[in-house]
Amino acid sequence: MKKTGNVLLCLAVAVCSLAGCSKKTASSGTGTEKIISPSSAEDPKLSKKIKILSIWPEDNDNGVLLTDIFDAYKKENPNFDYDYELVSSSDLRQKVTTLAASNDLPDIFVYESGKPILDLVSADKIMDTGSILEQFNCSDKLSPSAVSLLKNLSGTDKLYDLPLGLNIEGFWYNKALFKKAHVDVPETWNDFEQVLSKLKAAGIQPLAAGGSDKWGVTRLINAYLVRTAGADAMKKAAADPARYTDAPYVAAAKKIQDWAKAGYFGIGVTTVDMNTAGSMLLTGKAAIFYNGSWFASNLNDKSANAAGEDGIGFFNIPVVDPSISSGREYSMNCGNILCIGKNRYDEATGWLLKYFVEHIGDTAMSLQGSVKGYTYTVQNTQMSDYTKLVLQELGNAQSAFTWFEATMGSEVSTVAQNNVQTLLTGDMSAMDYMKSIQYAVKTSN
């Protein structure tokens, strides 16, 4: 028995030693370029079964667009097929990391834009989508602003992902409640604070916020920070000329904490998720809700929107000092993005991608009345007023800035989001909140 045990232990050690023989991945650089040029001018209809990993069910949101386009391509190329795998958005990063570790990334997968893809880039796990589109002659199908935004977010010269949205963010408000409190849409930050005060005095909860989802609150900190310190404030703090503990950053955190103390978010905001906060706006339980243009899909849903077709309005983040940040500067993002796994990429995938970028713009506008960061030619004649509102605001944007966590690594953004709850409850001061973020930067490096 003792001998058997010794043998088994030796076996275990041997297996562990073999595990250490795995390849060391490059810690920087883009690895080898995988160039696969198209073999013909027309799609040769190659045989391929792709695997796609998504966070949207096939009948929801971008899942509808993806499956619609893939099904349409299947009709054009009967040799093509696909497997659609669903993972929850909260598990996405872990799933992709695990698949990357076992060199088993799917052909196409949804991921988070910005810093998260840099690990995959440096480990040479994903394709340079920009060069794929150039080789297949369809780079012009991407909206230049989306390309610029994505490159900016990842801090790379090349494009490593594809957009699945071109969104602006701002304040949605309940028109009936504004009328009840006799307030108008604010343009300056001072006006905004007066509006909040008047709403509170009228017995109306001024703000709904998804405190339990956290990111809805850090967006508010970012809003005030950008208006007071400029669009590149978060970039400066991440790249070290500034620190998160500098005065403008602490002031932005204090602003939101003061709002919480004043009762603008109601009691227990840290227990409210974004869906509930959105419902509170639509059912008249709160007057203002910060969210992105994707919220228009909730507004277009008649069963969910108790406020009706014209009950909700939108205004951009009010201005503090127009010379620092003007009213035509919007918070923008491309939502979750698509990455192409390098391991499985071949010419067949390239032709599929060409078909995808050539059709998604029109498909999104026809089916959902939404812009996804691609050019489109169709006019959605049944566009709702809310979709028109979003397109109008998109057209109004002259410059963009990114969200609070865009320049943070995963460890820093987790700290920033977790501790925003204690900022709201008053258990952590604004300075301590920013110190915790700065400390996370130190420990994550």
Binding site: T4, A19, T97, S102, S122, I267, T271, D427
Partner: protein
């Protein structure tokens, strides 16, 4: 039977296959995890040997110490609640409940079989304050205790306690059934004899029931301890480790470190610490079970 158990070949046939599977599935990952503690990054993504750096980091990691403290408070509270209330319920079944015994036992045991996420959703609604008061806040408001209406899972001061209440409610039925079974095993003559001698109430419990129930009590404490050390799914489902880090256990921190921060090596070290705490704590509790109870 004795002949079979003395035969080494027979022992080999019965024990070795199971032992191999156990080694591969349980022991090997532990050894593999220990090996990972000397690396930084994530396998396949920036995976580099870093020696004892993770161990040095652990001693200065304020987040780990905070998570350890949360775990300790949770362990003490929930162990006492689950086992203590479970025991009291078993006494109720044994000595007080005369009618509807089976129905009451079933209702008390029912939460044990409910999925954790479903229970968390239930309690989230009970504790709710915005947009509407949940059951608890509604009752408090109606009986004139408006000053006690608060966001029970939305503030650090009450979040952990609220989580503990939920987990105690879920598991106390399980321990009540274990203790009830043990009480039924105590010969009635022993209890009758003690009563004839004038023992009742606390004296009966202190000198008759407690010593006879010690093995089951120790087993229950070990079960409860190993469950509470691994505090994870109920905290994730109810509060997601928040607000802030008020309910973030070592397991949640380990999960974040390994899978969100891509520090699998450091996460493996935290997992190893959890394992050692589990083994040490279970060993310590098991020492309470001495053999000289008669």
């Amino acid at each position: 039977m004795t002949k079979v158990l003395k035969d080494k070949k027979a022992i080999g046939i019965f024990v070795v296959p199971g032992f191999i599977i156990y080694t591969l599935i349980v022991m090997l990952p532990i050894v593999w995890s220990f090996y990972y503690t000397f690396y930084s990054g994530s396998p396949g993504l920036r995976w580099n040997f870093c020696g004892l750096k993770n161990y040095q980091m652990l001693f200065h990691d304020k987040n780990f110490l905070a998570a350890l403290l949360v775990n300790l408070k949770y362990i003490l509270c929930v162990m006492a609640g689950q086992v203590g209330l479970g025991f009291l319920l078993s006494l109720m079944f044994m000595f007080w409940l005369t009618k509807f015994k089976a129905v009451v036992r079933t209702l008390v045991f029912f939460p044990v079989v409910l999925p954790t996420v479903a229970v968390a959703q239930l309690f989230a609604k009970i504790y709710e304050i915005q947009p509407n008061y949940g059951l608890l806040n509604s009752v408090l408001a109606h009986i004139g205790l408006q000053n006690l209406v608060q966001p029970w899972i939305g503030q650090p001061s009450t979040a952990l306690g609220s989580l503990c209440v939920m987990d105690i409610w879920v598991a106390m039925g399980f321990y009540s059934v274990i203790f009830y079974g043990a009480l039924l095993d105590i010969p009635q003559e022993t209890i009758d004899a003690a009563r004839i001698d004038g023992a009742g109430g606390f004296i009966l419990f202190r000198y008759i029931l407690a010593p006879l129930l010690r093995p089951v009590t120790v087993t229950s404490l070990v079960f409860s301890f190993t469950g509470t050390v691994k505090m994870f799914e109920s905290a994730i489902a109810l509060t997601n480790g928040g607000p802030g880090n008020a309910t973030r256990s070592m397991s949640i921190y380990m999960y974040n470190v390994a899978f969100s921060f891509n520090k699998v090596g450091y996460g493996s070290l935290i997992a190893l610490i959890i394992f050692l705490i589990c083994v040490a704590g279970s060993g310590l509790i098991s020492r309470l079970d001495t053999k000289d109870i008669y």
